[in-house]
Symmetry: C2
Subunit: 118 residues, 2 copies
């Protein structure tokens, strides 16, 4: 998987937050702060779908874009990818476990426990 640039991530954030597939125009309207040309938004949406982050379907002349995977799945995959960089996965995992804050350790513990019960 390739990483995302800053604008790409902003746009993914919008689409992740929305439940319905959006057109380029709709996305553009939601990034007013950056005052981007419409084609800029279109280009980025196109690149994102080319990279597999978005799926798109026709709606008249326009495309509607929606995330191919949930944000959580994306983040989890990034984490697994980071984990793959190490030779010693166990050590890295241990380290990671120590690094997460208390409440998050609790979340992890719970998720792992549920996992065990299945």
């Amino acid at each position: 998987m390739k990483g995302l640039g800053e604008l790409e991530r902003s746009i993914m954030d919008i689409l992740w937050a929305e439940n319905a597939p959006l057109t380029a125009r709709e996305v553009g309207r939601m990034i007013e702060d950056r005052d981007l040309a419409p084609t800029t938004v279109m280009t980025v949406l196109d690149r994102l779908s080319r990279k597999g982050f978005l799926n798109r379907t026709r709606d008249g002349r326009a495309w509607r874009y929606q995330p191919a995977a949930s944000r959580d799945a994306y983040v989890a995959e990034l984490m697994l990818e980071a984990l793959d960089l190490t030779g010693d996965r166990d050590a890295a995992l241990t380290r990671f476990a120590q690094a997460v804050s208390g409440s998050e350790a609790e979340i992890l513990r719970k998720a792992l426990t549920e996992l065990e019960e299945e």
Copy 2:
């Protein structure tokens, strides 16, 4: 933290594997497969230390480089960084817990348990 390129990572791998600080020449000798010019290795080592991944100390005219942090710490930090990308850390953590394979889930569980006991 910035990511590492491929050559940069190869070189970090060498230095992480070694316990002693190495000179550019020594590092270069350990990447024979790529047949790099000595200056290439030096440039990359220089960039890595500039980025904070390596510390260097003088040894005669030469520099000796060694990692500023362990590989595990680096990987753990990458994982935490990925985690920061989400709005919903709990969901992402849960997802992550589900994604790690069984034996690794075991490692995580153990690390978390030890954490709890302290």
